[in-house]
Protein backbone atom coordinates (compact mmCIF):
# COMPACT_ATOMS: atom_id res chain seq x y z
CA UNK A 1 0.00 0.00 0.00
CA UNK A 2 1.46 3.35 -0.95
CA UNK A 3 1.47 6.15 1.54
CA UNK A 4 -0.64 8.71 -0.35
CA UNK A 5 -3.43 6.18 -0.54
CA UNK A 6 -3.27 5.69 3.21
CA UNK A 7 -3.84 9.41 3.71
CA UNK A 8 -6.73 9.33 1.23
CA UNK A 9 -8.22 6.33 2.93
CA UNK A 10 -8.04 8.03 6.29
CA UNK A 11 -9.78 11.11 4.99
CA UNK A 12 -12.46 9.13 3.23
CA UNK A 13 -13.04 7.38 6.54
CA UNK A 14 -13.38 10.80 8.20
CA UNK A 15 -16.02 11.69 5.63
CA UNK A 16 -17.98 8.53 6.35
CA UNK A 17 -17.91 9.24 10.05
CA UNK A 18 -19.15 12.80 9.49
CA UNK A 19 -21.93 11.39 7.33
CA UNK A 20 -22.92 8.79 9.91
CA UNK A 21 -22.92 11.47 12.57
CA UNK A 22 -25.62 13.35 10.70
CA UNK A 23 -28.30 11.13 12.17
CA UNK A 24 -30.30 10.11 9.11
CA UNK A 25 -28.36 7.12 7.91
CA UNK A 26 -30.29 5.31 5.18
CA UNK A 27 -30.07 1.83 3.67
CA UNK A 28 -28.62 3.51 0.58
CA UNK A 29 -25.88 5.05 2.71
CA UNK A 30 -25.17 1.69 4.25
CA UNK A 31 -24.96 0.03 0.84
CA UNK A 32 -22.54 2.71 -0.38
CA UNK A 33 -20.42 2.30 2.70
CA UNK A 34 -20.33 -1.47 2.21
CA UNK A 35 -19.16 -0.91 -1.37
CA UNK A 36 -16.43 1.38 -0.13
CA UNK A 37 -15.32 -1.14 2.51
CA UNK A 38 -15.31 -4.00 0.03
CA UNK A 39 -12.62 -2.39 -2.12
CA UNK A 40 -9.89 -2.91 0.44
CA UNK A 41 -10.29 -4.76 3.74
CA UNK A 42 -7.94 -2.38 5.50
CA UNK A 43 -10.64 0.27 5.08
CA UNK A 44 -12.43 -1.44 7.97
CA UNK A 45 -9.48 -0.45 10.12
CA UNK A 46 -9.45 3.12 8.81
CA UNK A 47 -13.16 3.51 9.49
CA UNK A 48 -13.00 2.07 13.00
CA UNK A 49 -10.08 4.32 13.87
CA UNK A 50 -11.83 7.45 12.62
CA UNK A 51 -15.09 6.57 14.31
CA UNK A 52 -13.39 5.76 17.60
CA UNK A 53 -11.59 9.10 17.54
CA UNK A 54 -14.86 10.90 16.90
CA UNK A 55 -16.51 8.96 19.73
CA UNK A 56 -13.67 9.73 22.10
CA UNK A 57 -14.21 13.47 21.61
CA UNK A 58 -17.08 13.28 24.00
CA UNK A 59 -15.66 13.47 27.44
CA UNK A 60 -19.00 13.87 29.14
CA UNK A 61 -20.67 10.93 27.49
CA UNK A 62 -22.02 8.00 29.40
CA UNK A 63 -19.85 4.92 29.26
CA UNK A 64 -20.88 2.98 26.17
CA UNK A 65 -23.00 -0.12 26.58
CA UNK A 66 -20.85 -3.21 26.79
CA UNK A 67 -23.23 -5.69 25.32
CA UNK A 68 -24.41 -5.77 21.84
CA UNK A 69 -28.13 -6.31 21.93
CA UNK A 70 -28.46 -5.94 18.21
CA UNK A 71 -28.37 -9.37 16.62
CA UNK A 72 -25.33 -9.38 14.41
CA UNK A 73 -26.07 -11.36 11.27
CA UNK A 74 -23.61 -14.12 10.72
CA UNK A 75 -22.25 -14.10 14.24
CA UNK A 76 -23.23 -17.48 15.64
CA UNK A 77 -20.73 -17.60 18.45
CA UNK A 78 -21.67 -14.65 20.55
CA UNK A 79 -24.88 -15.83 22.16
CA UNK A 80 -24.60 -16.86 25.74
CA UNK A 81 -20.85 -16.99 25.63
CA UNK A 82 -19.02 -15.47 28.52
CA UNK A 83 -15.38 -14.61 28.60
CA UNK A 84 -13.22 -17.40 29.86
CA UNK A 85 -11.63 -17.07 33.24
CA UNK A 86 -9.62 -20.18 33.61
CA UNK A 87 -8.21 -19.90 37.10
CA UNK A 88 -11.54 -20.07 38.89
CA UNK A 89 -12.66 -22.96 36.75
CA UNK A 90 -9.45 -24.82 37.25
CA UNK A 91 -10.20 -24.78 40.92
CA UNK A 92 -13.30 -26.90 40.46
CA UNK A 93 -12.77 -30.26 42.12
CA UNK A 94 -13.68 -33.34 40.15
CA UNK A 95 -16.50 -35.44 41.54
CA UNK A 96 -16.56 -39.22 41.71
CA UNK A 97 -17.30 -41.39 38.74
CA UNK A 98 -14.07 -40.80 36.88
CA UNK A 99 -12.64 -44.17 37.78
CA UNK A 100 -15.85 -45.95 36.89
CA UNK A 101 -16.06 -44.37 33.46
CA UNK A 102 -12.45 -45.21 32.76
CA UNK A 103 -12.78 -48.83 33.82
CA UNK A 104 -15.80 -49.39 31.61
CA UNK A 105 -13.84 -48.21 28.61
CA UNK A 106 -10.84 -50.28 29.64
CA UNK A 107 -12.99 -53.38 29.73
CA UNK A 108 -14.16 -53.12 26.16
CA UNK A 109 -12.97 -55.88 23.87
CA UNK A 110 -10.63 -54.49 21.27
CA UNK A 111 -10.33 -55.79 17.77
CA UNK A 112 -6.95 -54.22 17.29
CA UNK A 113 -4.08 -54.17 19.68
CA UNK A 114 -3.89 -50.99 21.59
CA UNK A 115 -0.94 -48.70 20.94
CA UNK A 116 0.45 -46.53 23.67
CA UNK A 117 2.31 -43.37 22.69
CA UNK A 118 4.42 -41.60 25.30
CA UNK A 119 6.65 -38.58 25.52
CA UNK A 120 9.26 -37.84 28.12
CA UNK A 121 9.81 -34.52 29.86
CA UNK A 122 10.72 -31.95 27.22
CA UNK A 123 10.02 -34.32 24.36
CA UNK A 124 7.59 -33.53 21.57
CA UNK A 125 6.52 -36.21 19.09
CA UNK A 126 4.54 -36.13 15.88
CA UNK A 127 3.13 -39.58 15.22
CA UNK A 128 1.26 -40.64 12.07
CA UNK A 129 -1.61 -42.98 12.96
CA UNK A 130 -2.86 -45.95 10.93
CA UNK A 131 -5.90 -44.13 9.59
CA UNK A 132 -3.92 -41.20 8.17
CA UNK A 133 -4.49 -38.93 11.16
CA UNK A 134 -1.60 -37.30 12.98
CA UNK A 135 -1.13 -37.05 16.73
CA UNK A 136 1.32 -34.49 18.11
CA UNK A 137 2.22 -35.18 21.71
CA UNK A 138 3.49 -32.43 23.95
CA UNK A 139 5.93 -32.92 26.81
CA UNK A 140 5.21 -35.62 29.41
CA UNK A 141 2.11 -36.98 27.70
CA UNK A 142 0.54 -40.38 27.20
CA UNK A 143 -2.04 -41.40 24.67
CA UNK A 144 -3.70 -44.78 24.13
CA UNK A 145 -4.75 -45.38 20.57
CA UNK A 146 -7.51 -47.94 20.09
CA UNK A 147 -8.67 -48.13 16.50
CA UNK A 148 -11.57 -50.35 15.58
CA UNK A 149 -13.52 -51.04 12.45
CA UNK A 150 -16.26 -48.56 13.13
CA UNK A 151 -14.64 -46.14 15.54
CA UNK A 152 -11.38 -44.54 16.52
CA UNK A 153 -10.88 -44.17 20.24
CA UNK A 154 -8.06 -42.23 21.81
CA UNK A 155 -7.46 -41.89 25.49
CA UNK A 156 -5.33 -39.02 26.75
CA UNK A 157 -4.18 -40.20 30.15
CA UNK A 158 -1.84 -37.33 30.82
CA UNK A 159 -0.41 -34.24 29.22
CA UNK A 160 -1.52 -32.67 25.98
CA UNK A 161 -1.99 -33.74 22.39
CA UNK A 162 -3.12 -32.16 19.15
CA UNK A 163 -4.87 -34.24 16.54
CA UNK A 164 -5.19 -33.71 12.83
CA UNK A 165 -8.03 -36.09 12.09
CA UNK A 166 -8.39 -37.83 8.73
CA UNK A 167 -11.98 -37.50 7.55
CA UNK A 168 -14.06 -40.63 7.83
CA UNK A 169 -17.72 -40.28 8.69
CA UNK A 170 -18.08 -43.99 9.22
CA UNK A 171 -15.41 -44.04 11.94
CA UNK A 172 -15.89 -41.25 14.45
CA UNK A 173 -12.74 -40.08 16.23
CA UNK A 174 -13.33 -39.85 19.96
CA UNK A 175 -10.83 -38.49 22.47
CA UNK A 176 -11.32 -39.23 26.15
CA UNK A 177 -9.64 -37.28 28.88
CA UNK A 178 -10.99 -38.35 32.25
CA UNK A 179 -14.74 -38.06 31.86
CA UNK A 180 -14.38 -35.41 29.15
CA UNK A 181 -15.22 -36.53 25.63
CA UNK A 182 -14.31 -34.75 22.42
CA UNK A 183 -15.81 -36.12 19.24
CA UNK A 184 -14.59 -35.25 15.76
CA UNK A 185 -15.27 -36.45 12.29
CA UNK A 186 -12.63 -34.66 10.26
CA UNK A 187 -11.00 -31.79 12.03
CA UNK A 188 -7.99 -30.67 14.04
CA UNK A 189 -7.98 -29.93 17.73
CA UNK A 190 -5.95 -30.31 20.89
CA UNK A 191 -6.82 -31.68 24.30
CA UNK A 192 -4.83 -30.98 27.42
CA UNK A 193 -5.44 -32.92 30.59
CA UNK A 194 -5.66 -30.70 33.65
CA UNK A 195 -6.12 -31.63 37.25
CA UNK A 196 -9.89 -31.54 37.22
CA UNK A 197 -10.82 -31.11 33.61
CA UNK A 198 -9.42 -30.55 30.15
CA UNK A 199 -8.56 -27.68 27.82
CA UNK A 200 -9.83 -28.15 24.29
CA UNK A 201 -8.70 -25.94 21.40
CA UNK A 202 -10.21 -26.39 17.95
CA UNK A 203 -7.96 -25.36 15.07
CA UNK A 204 -10.07 -26.69 12.22
CA UNK A 205 -13.61 -27.86 11.65
CA UNK A 206 -16.07 -28.74 14.40
CA UNK A 207 -15.99 -31.01 17.44
CA UNK A 208 -18.56 -32.03 20.01
CA UNK A 209 -17.60 -32.02 23.65
CA UNK A 210 -19.20 -33.34 26.83
CA UNK A 211 -18.43 -34.87 30.19
CA UNK A 212 -19.49 -38.44 30.91
CA UNK A 213 -19.70 -37.55 34.59
CA UNK A 214 -22.45 -35.08 34.14
CA UNK A 215 -24.63 -35.84 31.16
CA UNK A 216 -24.41 -36.92 27.59
CA UNK A 217 -25.57 -33.51 26.45
CA UNK A 218 -23.08 -32.09 24.00
CA UNK A 219 -21.67 -28.72 23.13
CA UNK A 220 -20.28 -27.85 19.74
CA UNK A 221 -16.99 -26.07 19.38
CA UNK A 222 -15.96 -24.64 16.06
CA UNK A 223 -12.67 -23.59 14.57
CA UNK A 224 -10.98 -20.87 16.58
CA UNK A 225 -12.82 -21.66 19.79
CA UNK A 226 -11.32 -23.00 22.96
CA UNK A 227 -12.67 -24.06 26.30
CA UNK A 228 -11.63 -25.31 29.67
CA UNK A 229 -14.14 -27.92 30.67
CA UNK A 230 -14.19 -29.09 34.24
CA UNK A 231 -14.89 -32.79 34.69
CA UNK A 232 -18.03 -31.83 36.56
CA UNK A 233 -19.14 -29.02 34.29
CA UNK A 234 -22.71 -28.80 33.12
CA UNK A 235 -22.77 -28.17 29.43
CA UNK A 236 -24.57 -24.87 29.88
CA UNK A 237 -21.97 -23.90 32.43
CA UNK A 238 -18.90 -23.89 30.25
CA UNK A 239 -17.36 -20.76 28.89
CA UNK A 240 -16.24 -20.82 25.30
CA UNK A 241 -13.55 -18.41 24.19
CA UNK A 242 -12.86 -17.34 20.65
CA UNK A 243 -9.16 -16.75 20.63
CA UNK A 244 -6.29 -17.27 18.32
CA UNK A 245 -5.03 -20.79 18.94
CA UNK A 246 -1.64 -19.99 17.43
CA UNK A 247 0.11 -19.24 20.66
CA UNK A 248 -1.46 -22.00 22.74
CA UNK A 249 -0.30 -24.54 20.17
CA UNK A 250 3.19 -23.11 19.62
CA UNK A 251 4.54 -26.20 21.38
CA UNK A 252 4.06 -28.18 18.19
CA UNK A 253 7.10 -26.40 16.82
CA UNK A 254 8.96 -26.58 20.10
CA UNK A 255 8.13 -23.08 21.24
CA UNK A 256 6.40 -21.33 24.05
CA UNK A 257 4.50 -18.28 23.01
CA UNK A 258 3.37 -16.03 25.81
CA UNK A 259 0.60 -13.57 25.18
CA UNK A 260 -0.15 -11.45 28.17
CA UNK A 261 0.59 -14.35 30.47
CA UNK A 262 0.93 -13.93 34.25
CA UNK A 263 4.49 -14.66 35.37
CA UNK A 264 3.42 -17.59 37.57
CA UNK A 265 1.65 -19.28 34.66
CA UNK A 266 4.60 -18.65 32.35
CA UNK A 267 6.89 -20.30 34.87
CA UNK A 268 4.74 -23.39 35.20
CA UNK A 269 4.61 -23.55 31.41
CA UNK A 270 8.43 -23.72 31.23
CA UNK A 271 8.49 -26.24 34.05
CA UNK A 272 6.40 -28.60 31.94
CA UNK A 273 9.38 -29.04 29.64
CA UNK A 274 12.50 -28.84 31.73
CA UNK A 275 14.21 -30.80 34.48
CA UNK A 276 15.86 -27.70 35.79
CA UNK A 277 12.99 -25.93 37.50
CA UNK A 278 12.12 -22.26 37.61
CA UNK A 279 11.20 -21.27 41.14
CA UNK A 280 9.43 -18.04 41.95
CA UNK A 281 10.44 -16.81 45.38
CA UNK A 282 8.54 -13.58 45.41
CA UNK A 283 4.78 -14.15 45.18
CA UNK A 284 4.22 -10.42 44.80
CA UNK A 285 5.34 -10.49 41.18
CA UNK A 286 3.38 -13.64 40.27
CA UNK A 287 0.72 -11.61 38.50
CA UNK A 288 3.02 -9.51 36.31
CA UNK A 289 2.12 -9.97 32.67
CA UNK A 290 4.53 -11.15 29.99
CA UNK A 291 4.68 -11.36 26.22
CA UNK A 292 7.24 -13.09 24.06
CA UNK A 293 8.32 -16.26 22.40
CA UNK A 294 10.98 -18.78 23.38
CA UNK A 295 12.21 -22.25 22.68
CA UNK A 296 10.66 -24.63 25.21
CA UNK A 297 14.12 -25.46 26.59
CA UNK A 298 15.36 -21.87 26.83
CA UNK A 299 14.72 -21.35 30.52
CA UNK A 300 17.93 -19.36 30.85
CA UNK A 301 16.79 -16.92 28.21
CA UNK A 302 13.41 -16.65 29.85
CA UNK A 303 14.93 -16.04 33.29
CA UNK A 304 17.25 -13.37 31.87
CA UNK A 305 14.32 -11.69 30.20
CA UNK A 306 12.38 -11.66 33.47
CA UNK A 307 15.43 -10.21 35.16
CA UNK A 308 15.76 -7.47 32.55
CA UNK A 309 12.15 -6.47 32.30
CA UNK A 310 11.00 -6.58 35.90
CA UNK A 311 14.35 -5.83 37.44
CA UNK A 312 14.12 -8.76 39.82
CA UNK A 313 17.17 -10.77 40.91
CA UNK A 314 17.68 -14.16 39.28
CA UNK A 315 19.92 -16.79 40.81
CA UNK A 316 21.48 -19.25 38.35
CA UNK A 317 23.90 -20.81 40.84
CA UNK A 318 22.03 -24.08 41.46
CA UNK A 319 22.13 -26.94 38.99
CA UNK A 320 18.58 -28.10 39.61
CA UNK A 321 16.75 -24.81 39.71
CA UNK A 322 16.77 -21.16 38.77
CA UNK A 323 15.44 -18.88 41.44
CA UNK A 324 13.53 -15.78 40.47
CA UNK A 325 13.02 -12.86 42.82
CA UNK A 326 13.83 -12.78 46.46
CA UNK A 327 11.68 -12.98 49.53
CA UNK A 328 11.25 -9.43 50.66
CA UNK A 329 11.87 -8.71 54.33
CA UNK A 330 8.71 -7.57 56.04
CA UNK A 331 8.86 -3.83 56.55
Amino acid sequence: MSRPSLTDMRDEANAWVARMDQGNWSPTDEARLQDWLAVDPSRHGALLQAQAMWTMLRPTAEPPARHNDVPDLGAPNTDGIRSRRLPSRRAVIAGGGTALAASLVGGTVLLRPRTVLRTDLGEIRHVPLDDGSIASLNTGSEVDVMFRRNRRDIRLTQGEAWFQVAKNRARPFLVESGPIRVLAVGTAFSVRRREAGADVVVTEGVVEIWSEDVSAKRTRLVEGQSVFMADTAQVHDIAVATTSSDHTLAWRSGRIELVDEPLADAISEFNRYNRRRLVLLDPQIAGKRLDGFFRTDDIDGFARAVNASFDVPVDFSRADEIRIGQIKPIT
Partner: protein, 199 residues
Protein backbone atom coordinates in the same frame (compact mmCIF):
# COMPACT_ATOMS: atom_id res chain seq x y z
CA UNK B 1 -32.31 5.22 16.42
CA UNK B 2 -33.44 5.36 12.79
CA UNK B 3 -35.80 2.80 11.37
CA UNK B 4 -34.71 -0.34 13.10
CA UNK B 5 -33.85 -1.93 9.79
CA UNK B 6 -30.70 -3.66 8.74
CA UNK B 7 -28.85 -0.47 7.92
CA UNK B 8 -29.35 0.96 11.39
CA UNK B 9 -28.44 -2.32 13.03
CA UNK B 10 -25.15 -2.35 11.11
CA UNK B 11 -24.67 1.28 12.08
CA UNK B 12 -25.32 0.56 15.72
CA UNK B 13 -22.97 -2.41 15.73
CA UNK B 14 -20.23 -0.22 14.27
CA UNK B 15 -20.90 2.55 16.76
CA UNK B 16 -20.66 0.15 19.66
CA UNK B 17 -17.39 -1.27 18.39
CA UNK B 18 -16.06 2.27 17.95
CA UNK B 19 -17.18 3.19 21.47
CA UNK B 20 -15.42 0.13 22.83
CA UNK B 21 -12.22 1.14 21.04
CA UNK B 22 -12.59 4.75 22.14
CA UNK B 23 -12.91 3.71 25.73
CA UNK B 24 -10.48 0.83 25.96
CA UNK B 25 -7.80 1.23 23.32
CA UNK B 26 -7.49 4.64 21.79
CA UNK B 27 -6.44 6.52 24.93
CA UNK B 28 -3.42 4.20 25.09
CA UNK B 29 -2.55 4.51 21.42
CA UNK B 30 0.15 7.12 22.10
CA UNK B 31 2.01 4.67 24.32
CA UNK B 32 1.96 2.09 21.58
CA UNK B 33 3.26 4.68 19.14
CA UNK B 34 6.01 5.56 21.58
CA UNK B 35 6.91 1.88 21.81
CA UNK B 36 7.00 1.59 18.02
CA UNK B 37 9.20 4.66 17.86
CA UNK B 38 11.69 3.07 20.18
CA UNK B 39 11.91 0.24 17.67
CA UNK B 40 12.68 2.85 15.03
CA UNK B 41 9.44 2.35 13.23
CA UNK B 42 8.76 5.48 11.19
CA UNK B 43 5.55 7.41 11.93
CA UNK B 44 4.21 6.41 8.50
CA UNK B 45 4.87 2.74 9.18
CA UNK B 46 3.28 3.11 12.60
CA UNK B 47 0.17 4.54 10.96
CA UNK B 48 -0.03 1.50 8.74
CA UNK B 49 0.58 -0.97 11.53
CA UNK B 50 -2.03 0.60 13.76
CA UNK B 51 -4.55 0.74 10.98
CA UNK B 52 -3.96 -2.94 10.25
CA UNK B 53 -4.39 -3.71 13.92
CA UNK B 54 -7.66 -1.76 14.05
CA UNK B 55 -8.74 -3.69 11.00
CA UNK B 56 -8.35 -6.93 12.95
CA UNK B 57 -10.51 -5.48 15.70
CA UNK B 58 -13.11 -4.25 13.21
CA UNK B 59 -13.42 -7.70 11.67
CA UNK B 60 -13.85 -9.61 14.92
CA UNK B 61 -17.27 -11.15 15.30
CA UNK B 62 -17.41 -10.07 18.88
CA UNK B 63 -15.16 -8.40 21.41
CA UNK B 64 -16.98 -9.73 24.45
CA UNK B 65 -14.34 -12.37 25.06
CA UNK B 66 -11.53 -9.83 25.33
CA UNK B 67 -10.80 -9.19 28.97
CA UNK B 68 -7.89 -6.85 28.50
CA UNK B 69 -8.44 -4.85 25.34
CA UNK B 70 -5.21 -2.81 25.27
CA UNK B 71 -3.03 -5.84 25.91
CA UNK B 72 -4.92 -7.68 23.21
CA UNK B 73 -4.53 -4.81 20.78
CA UNK B 74 -0.89 -4.41 21.61
CA UNK B 75 -0.17 -8.05 20.98
CA UNK B 76 -1.74 -7.68 17.53
CA UNK B 77 0.49 -4.70 16.80
CA UNK B 78 3.56 -6.55 17.99
CA UNK B 79 2.75 -9.61 15.93
CA UNK B 80 2.23 -7.47 12.85
CA UNK B 81 5.58 -5.82 13.46
CA UNK B 82 7.36 -9.13 13.97
CA UNK B 83 5.78 -10.50 10.83
CA UNK B 84 6.88 -7.47 8.86
CA UNK B 85 10.44 -7.85 10.13
CA UNK B 86 10.47 -11.50 9.25
CA UNK B 87 9.17 -10.75 5.80
CA UNK B 88 11.78 -8.09 5.22
CA UNK B 89 14.49 -10.24 6.76
CA UNK B 90 15.81 -7.28 8.64
CA UNK B 91 16.76 -9.36 11.62
CA UNK B 92 16.88 -12.99 12.58
CA UNK B 93 13.98 -14.66 14.28
CA UNK B 94 15.93 -15.03 17.49
CA UNK B 95 16.66 -11.35 17.58
CA UNK B 96 13.02 -10.55 17.12
CA UNK B 97 12.18 -12.92 19.91
CA UNK B 98 14.47 -11.04 22.22
CA UNK B 99 13.43 -7.65 20.96
CA UNK B 100 9.84 -8.51 20.88
CA UNK B 101 9.63 -10.09 24.22
CA UNK B 102 10.88 -8.25 27.14
CA UNK B 103 13.30 -5.41 26.79
CA UNK B 104 10.55 -2.85 26.70
CA UNK B 105 8.04 -4.74 28.68
CA UNK B 106 5.38 -2.43 27.40
CA UNK B 107 2.66 -4.35 29.13
CA UNK B 108 3.81 -2.58 32.25
CA UNK B 109 2.96 0.81 30.84
CA UNK B 110 -0.34 -0.33 29.44
CA UNK B 111 -1.41 -1.63 32.79
CA UNK B 112 -1.69 1.81 34.30
CA UNK B 113 -5.17 3.19 34.05
CA UNK B 114 -5.27 6.56 32.43
CA UNK B 115 -7.26 8.96 34.49
CA UNK B 116 -10.50 10.25 32.99
CA UNK B 117 -9.34 13.72 33.90
CA UNK B 118 -6.19 13.37 31.79
CA UNK B 119 -8.13 12.06 28.82
CA UNK B 120 -10.66 14.88 29.20
CA UNK B 121 -7.94 17.52 29.18
CA UNK B 122 -6.30 16.06 26.11
CA UNK B 123 -9.58 16.04 24.26
CA UNK B 124 -10.45 19.61 25.15
CA UNK B 125 -7.00 20.67 24.01
CA UNK B 126 -7.51 18.93 20.68
CA UNK B 127 -10.83 20.67 20.09
CA UNK B 128 -9.48 24.05 21.21
CA UNK B 129 -6.73 23.87 18.63
CA UNK B 130 -9.19 23.78 15.71
CA UNK B 131 -9.73 26.83 13.46
CA UNK B 132 -12.57 29.09 14.65
CA UNK B 133 -15.63 28.00 12.73
CA UNK B 134 -14.69 24.37 12.79
CA UNK B 135 -14.08 24.54 16.52
CA UNK B 136 -17.49 26.02 17.19
CA UNK B 137 -19.22 23.31 15.19
CA UNK B 138 -17.29 20.50 16.83
CA UNK B 139 -17.88 21.97 20.29
CA UNK B 140 -21.62 22.24 19.72
CA UNK B 141 -21.76 18.73 18.35
CA UNK B 142 -19.57 16.94 20.88
CA UNK B 143 -19.63 19.01 24.06
CA UNK B 144 -23.21 20.33 23.80
CA UNK B 145 -24.50 17.26 22.00
CA UNK B 146 -26.48 19.24 19.43
CA UNK B 147 -27.48 17.32 16.31
CA UNK B 148 -25.92 18.50 13.06
CA UNK B 149 -29.31 19.78 11.90
CA UNK B 150 -29.71 22.08 14.84
CA UNK B 151 -26.18 23.40 14.42
CA UNK B 152 -26.95 24.18 10.78
CA UNK B 153 -30.11 26.10 11.72
CA UNK B 154 -28.38 27.93 14.54
CA UNK B 155 -25.44 29.06 12.40
CA UNK B 156 -27.65 29.56 9.33
CA UNK B 157 -25.55 27.33 7.14
CA UNK B 158 -26.44 24.19 5.21
CA UNK B 159 -26.33 20.76 6.77
CA UNK B 160 -23.81 19.75 4.09
CA UNK B 161 -21.51 22.47 5.34
CA UNK B 162 -21.79 21.25 8.90
CA UNK B 163 -20.97 17.74 7.78
CA UNK B 164 -18.01 19.02 5.77
CA UNK B 165 -16.72 21.02 8.73
CA UNK B 166 -16.97 17.95 10.92
CA UNK B 167 -14.92 16.02 8.41
CA UNK B 168 -12.31 18.78 8.41
CA UNK B 169 -12.34 18.95 12.20
CA UNK B 170 -11.93 15.22 12.53
CA UNK B 171 -9.02 15.23 10.11
CA UNK B 172 -7.25 18.02 12.00
CA UNK B 173 -7.86 16.39 15.36
CA UNK B 174 -6.53 13.07 14.17
CA UNK B 175 -3.42 14.67 12.76
CA UNK B 176 -2.86 16.51 16.02
CA UNK B 177 -3.51 13.37 18.02
CA UNK B 178 -0.96 11.40 16.02
CA UNK B 179 1.59 14.18 16.23
CA UNK B 180 1.28 15.24 19.82
CA UNK B 181 2.18 11.73 20.85
CA UNK B 182 5.66 12.24 19.60
CA UNK B 183 6.24 15.17 21.95
CA UNK B 184 4.36 14.37 25.11
CA UNK B 185 4.45 10.65 25.34
CA UNK B 186 8.11 9.86 25.07
CA UNK B 187 8.60 11.90 28.22
CA UNK B 188 5.88 10.27 30.24
CA UNK B 189 7.10 6.94 29.00
CA UNK B 190 10.60 7.54 30.31
CA UNK B 191 9.16 8.47 33.64
CA UNK B 192 7.16 5.34 33.57
CA UNK B 193 10.18 3.17 32.91
CA UNK B 194 11.92 4.70 35.87
CA UNK B 195 8.86 4.15 38.01
CA UNK B 196 8.69 0.50 37.07
CA UNK B 197 12.16 -0.10 38.40
CA UNK B 198 11.51 1.41 41.76
CA UNK B 199 8.56 -0.87 42.40
Amino acid sequence: MNDGGLSSSALLTRQRRAAWVAENIMPYEPRIRAWLRRWQVSPEDSDELLQDAYCRIALLESVDHIDRPVAYFFSIVRNLLARRHRRQRIVSLELIAEVDAFQDSPALGLEDQMSDRLIYEKIIALIDALPNRCREIVRLRKLEDWPQKRIAAHLQISEKTVEAQIRIGLRAIREAWDKRDAETWSRSDDRHQAGAKVR
